[in-house]
């Protein structure tokens, strides 16, 4: 009792004097759960092959990561944040306000979002318009008028007679997910732009445009299956008529169980995503605080490893993990910029 009391006091004391002795000597990375599986692989290899400690990678989501990243400079703030979208102007402003004025942007490659079903069934093919009509909360009435009605479609055949006569049931991520953001922006918006009167709203009434194009139905046609893409893959294997939405890396790792549907006639394959032909793909980035380079040991070396061809090149180890690499000339230019620590916007 006496001993544990004394130990407790010592511990408390150490808590409050901690900032004095704990100069962080490892890289701290936060951000997107989509980039996490790639960032961690690089971090692990970097830790094993260099004299530096293995960087710590947190999965906080792109928005959460940028918020932490922009909270200030100093060893209690992260050095790098991963993002499955580009940094927004509002976030750059927040960073600047907190003293993070110099940011280096690094693009690492692409990720496709797939619309998939179980492998033992026929491979499907949809247009983005059909996906929009199947999943949106409000859709234009079928008679061609500009009136929006609550989504009446129950089966795929009702949307397009050429499709299967199976009920619409799509498993996908919840609103907190970056995958969902990207899916909504690329597939749903792509589909709703097919209606000229909705497209016109984008300029005249952006809020309404967003509400129409980004609103997913809540009557059971779209099922929020949680952030866990593995769970969606497992559920698809068990239920024959449903489709799922998840990142390409999960398709790549589970090709014996699920298959990606064609979207606008393009199959989600490595080559199609890399050439940007597949419509639902996005670029992946991370952002580095220049003020931390040279203070936290190993950042320069980590950047060199991450932008090297053996990591993100066409035959790199991240390609084996399902990331879609950019072409070699672009990678070289980007690696040179990163080496020179060229700032965002320059």
């Amino acid at each position: 009792m006496k001993h544990s009391l004394a130990a407790g006091v010592v511990l408390l004391a150490s808590v409050f004097s901690q900032s004095a002795f704990a100069e962080r000597n490892y890289i701290s990375i936060v951000g997107s759960s989509t980039v996490y599986p790639f960032s961690t692989v690089v971090a692990e290899r970097f830790g094993k092959s260099s004299k530096f400690r293995t960087p710590k990678v947190e999965s906080t989501g792109s928005g959460g990561g940028l918020k932490l990243f922009c909270s200030g400079v100093g060893d209690t703030t992260p050095d790098i944040t991963n993002s499955s979208r580009r940094i927004k102007a509002s976030e750059v402003a927040l960073c600047a306000k907190n003293g993070v004025k110099e940011i280096v942007e690094v693009t690492i490659g692409f990720d496709g979002i797939v619309f998939a079903n179980a492998a033992e069934h026929a491979q499907a093919s949809f247009s983005t318009k059909e996906i929009f009509l199947a999943l949106a909360k409000m859709v234009p009435a079928a008679n061609g008028s500009e009136k929006l009605i609550a989504n009446p479609y129950k089966t795929w055949q009702q949307i397009n007679p050429a499709l299967d006569n199976t009920p619409i049931k799509v498993l996908g991520p919840p609103p907190t997910s970056g995958t969902r953001d990207a899916f909504v922006e690329l597939a749903m918006e792509g589909g709703c732009s097919a209606f000229p009167f909705i497209k016109a709203l984008k300029k005249s009434d952006p809020d309404k445009y967003k509400a129409i194009c980004h609103g997913l139905r809540e009557d059971g046609g779209y099922v929020e299956a949680g952030e866990n893409d593995n769970l969606i893959v497992q559920k698809l294997a068990a239920s024959p008529d449903s489709y799922g939405i998840f990142g390409y890396s999960f398709l790549e790792q589970n090709e014996d169980k699920v298959q990606g549907s064609l979207i606008d006639g393009i199959e989600p394959t490595f080559d199609n995503i890399s050439s940007s032909e597949y419509p639902v793909s996005r670029s992946l980035h991370f952002y580095v605080k220049k003020a931390h380079v040279g203070v936290i040991p190993g950042i320069e070396e980590f950047l060199a490893e991450f932008t090297s061809s053996r990591a993100i090149g066409e035959d790199g180890y991240l390609a084996d993990k399902g990331m879609i690499p950019m072409d070699e000339s672009r990678r070289r230019a980007m690696a040179a910029d990163v080496k020179a620590l060229t700032l965002l916007g320059q």
Binding site: V15, Q18, A43, E44, R53, T76, N230
Partner: protein, 425 residues
Amino acid sequence: MTDQLTTTRSKVEQGMARRRRAEGRFRLYGVLSVGFGLLCLVVLFGNILSQGSSAFRQTVLQAEILLDQEYLGLNNQSPVNELRNGNYEGLIKQYLRNTAEVSSRSERRALYGLVSVGAHWQLQDAVLANPDLLGSTLSIELIMDDNVDQWFKHERDEGGAGRLNELQLGWLEQWVAEGRLKSRFSTTFFTNGDSREPELAGVHGAIMGTLLTLMVTFLLSFPIGVAAAIYLEEFAPKNRITEIVEININNLAAVPSITFGLLGLAIFINIFGVSRSTPLIGGLVLTLMTLPTIIISGRAAIKSVPPSIREAAFGLGASKMQVVFHHVLPLAMPGMLTGTIIGMAQALGETAPLLMIGMIAFVVDVPGFITDPSTVLPVQIFLWSDSPEQAFTERTSGAIIVLLTFLIMMNTVAVWLRRRLERRW
């Protein structure tokens, strides 16, 4: 008179059958609910054990590799950093090329992909441990890639191919026939930290993180909790303020645990600048969470000490301090310890508050001190369940088995302590 008696009796007898039936039904409900609970438990354990037991086995390839001094450019006098940088990967590739026939580049890639990317670290470790091995032939069990591992453990019996192609299956079947490809107990699962390669991922880092976090939690929450319980029960004046404090402690015990995470983020990280993702901050937050449990159980334990003990001590002239510390506390200790262990077991399984303070992180290095970045077991389970590679599914169940073992151990200690130290009056 007798008439009345018979009517009463007949009324009772009429109702008797109904009352017996009611009792019978009630017993049946009881048995059914206990049975349902047990069934759920059996299904849960059965499911986890059947999925997770294969995580403790690893497929390996028995290989005889010549540690060629000329090829590596090393000898047993070379300095450590040269030994570390040797091209062990090349040695393994060379070995594989000699053992299977390959021609094209894509075939070579397929062949190299069968062995784990971590296999050359096995060679490196062996050489670093004993540089005299250089120049001799090393007999080693090379760790295979997770695709091979999954195929060998699961798909092979059903004739499936998993994620392997025809060519790879041909090589593997040949190695199986030669008795070189085999499954052995996976020590890496217990000695490695996290990894993105399922075959190299282990729970050692998470276990160390859990132990360090629980140590911080225990060292802080036990003395504070016990002191608070003693003060509130024995010394505090019975007035409004004490009452408010008591009510609030009881309320805190029912607060959702994620709230403590937010509190920890706001106070410990933002104000005191404790670094994120360390056992220290994890322990501090879990202390907040377990304190109410410890205080409440501590007070109950003090209350259950019979007044006669106190009165006897007072009668012999002991001061209040002496009564409490010499007589009441020793008798109340078993109850307090039980409460503490149950509080710690609760903390062991917690992820929600840790979410806010950055412990949901990928940490490869095994933490050695409370300021090193680390994660804990339940977080490790969460992270693995979210990984794309199929082999992580069984690792997840494997880690759950480890976590359950810990929980059962802690609860057994709690029961044992209670049995051993408890006194009856």
